[in-house]
Symmetry: none
Subunit: 220 residues, 4 copies
């Protein structure tokens, strides 16, 4: 019964991923050195290349694995919610909650990932589409039920994601610089409300919610 085998277990893959998230968040993808990640994961530099093709692959893998988890979580969050319009709200709330709950990961996914040539220009983010397809599915379902008007699910889905993403981006950047952060919760409601009413077949039937206060003033 081996005592003191603190990190021997072959969880090297995970250790590298976790180390990379921290290092990328701290120094940025471009300034992060493989040797930094290796040191933090307590493996040799070369070992990283047994698990990943190259530095970009580490970043991409972070994206894929974490997106997989996010998709799972999203689906779970939506499980108990039936009304398509309420599902839209749930989606927005879930999205921002993840950003708030996983700062380092959010920084990597929001910022560093976008700074990668490979990701932006060559990679097909299948996982992202799957994530967004959940939204398109909500719309299609709502359209079948007659709750949502005839909107193009694809255009709407990208617009929705763009809105969530931009606000998440601003929040992460502000958070990174320790500037006064605006409320992500309020943002979730605001964005959700615009889209709910924007796609609803009968927007007049939607009860007017009192908007949560205090938004973004500090940024302009």
């Amino acid at each position: 019964m081996p005592v003191d085998r603190p990190r021997t277990t072959a969880d090297k893959h995970d250790r590298i991923i976790d180390a990379a998230i921290e290092v990328f968040a701290e120094k940025g993808f471009h300034h992060a050195r493989i040797s930094d990640i290796a040191a933090k994961a307590e493996v040799a530099d070369g070992t990283i290349y047994l698990y990943f093709r190259n530095k970009d692959d580490v970043l991409i893998t972070i994206f894929e694995e974490k997106m997989g988890m996010l998709i799972e979580g999203l689906k779970q969050s939506l499980e108990g919610v039936d009304d398509p319009l309420e599902r839209i709200r749930t989606f927005a709330r879930y999205h921002f909650k993840q950003v708030k709950d996983h700062e380092a990961l959010a920084e990597v996914l929001q910022i560093e990932l976008r700074l990668s040539n490979k990701f932006l220009k060559e990679y097909r983010p299948t996982q992202l589409w799957e994530y967004l397809n959940v939204f398109a599915g909500i719309l299609r379902d709502g359209q079948e039920r007659g709750v949502i008007r005839e909107v193009d699910p694809f255009a709407s889905m990208w617009a929705f994601f763009g809105a969530l993403d931009e606000i998440a981006m601003q929040w992460v950047l502000a958070n990174k610089e320790r500037k006064l952060r605006f409320s992500l919760d309020a943002s979730a409601e605001a964005v959700a409300e615009i889209f709910v009413r924007g796609v609803a077949a009968n927007p007049s039937a939607i009860p007017v919610a009192t908007p949560l206060p205090s938004q973004f003033e500090s940024l302009s």
Copy 2:
């Protein structure tokens, strides 16, 4: 009427900017060499440093100068339009028209600019805020007139921009790879319609437009 005055005029600044846009769009910011830009602008490498601090400064300057022009153009486009909801539609149409009309520039502003550490992490894009403030102004004006409901102008503005930007991004990326492009015109209408209804005080009064067809299928 001077024919063939190849490089006499002291418009070196503009020549460098224009050359840089082409080179950045073609090779990407990171792979673009100063000497590439200099060659295309028909100046010496060192001359670029008489007009710009460094490579990043060239990129940032492209952003600032072109955004200045876009803001001007946007304001002109809105001049004849009175109805706040119609102004939202005009904004969206204008935004996408610029993307379509200036491919190289759009590629630089959509892609290369985002790949710049300096821009993303250090630069305060005042011009972007000014651009977006036009949208916030539309909302405030509409709220005063009672046409637009109580939405947070800031959150809405970022959501609106995020939606436009994401779709523009997808279009530019698809365009870059010569993949079948979806219709930006249709997207403009779709996004505009969501936001118009999303922020309208009385959405039921908005006539249902027949959505333009054919969206995004090629991307998924």
Copy 3:
């Protein structure tokens, strides 16, 4: 009668030389830019090339002109001194006095000049030889008079200069760093005494001077 012609006089040559001494002393020869010198001399960059072949030429000219003055001064200092041994002492005292009285110039001549490839490897410092020949002359004269023994004037001259120069160098470096400086006056006496006795035909006849105290302790 021209009023207010502060710098119009065609003393540009001198203005450039003086500016260069200051700039070289302050930033070092390598880091000094021609434009720095031009700015301080209040002339255009190109103007410097009307008066000097290149940057090295400015440095060399400083050496030549200032050495010319030093040689003159040295000869004047020696004028009233007849005894060859005393002339050696006078030489040493004069050398160190110049170092102490002209800090910026000393820094340029002691440090920056030596850092110049051109000066060290290509230039024939005729002026330096003339300066040292004064010492060789003292020796030869002393030998004719029988006061100085059969030493090789050339070897002795370089040894003497080396000794003066090394101590001057240490003092300038210490002075530059604002470290506690040792006494140049005491050093003059010490070095002079070694050489006086070292070359004297009859050293026993030389009265033993009480050495000045406090030397160099701070440097080791």
Copy 4:
């Protein structure tokens, strides 16, 4: 008994140092490229940076390691010599012998090292002080024995080194240009004799040596 083991041994440090001495002597420190050194040492450019911080560090390391050896050798040379005055002569002879026996190294230490900003302005040449302290030690010992008069060991030490160094410098420069070289052996005796008599308590007791002929004529 392995013949032909060209680069297997992990003596890369030494190989780089030796290559650097040759390259620095041949092309000068400033014109020597890292790739030149790497090629001569038969390692990759980057390998040099595994062993040295930068180009200056290579130069400084040459100084430190070689000075360490010189100090050792000096101490050995002095081992059998008891008389302080004779020890001074031994010091001078040793110094010049090293210059003559290691031409490339002498060129680097005499010339290139002095052309280095880092070395001249920032570096504290501890090893040099140790080398010179040997001389100061000789003086102190001689003073205790009453053989050497009351001279300041510090001033004398720098003067002695300056004298040796200047003559070595002139010889190396002349040697470099293939000009007629003067005799370093004769110079050793000449300089030694000046300092021996210069610091001796009883110079009259020193037998007059016939000076070695032919000095320096070719230089003036």
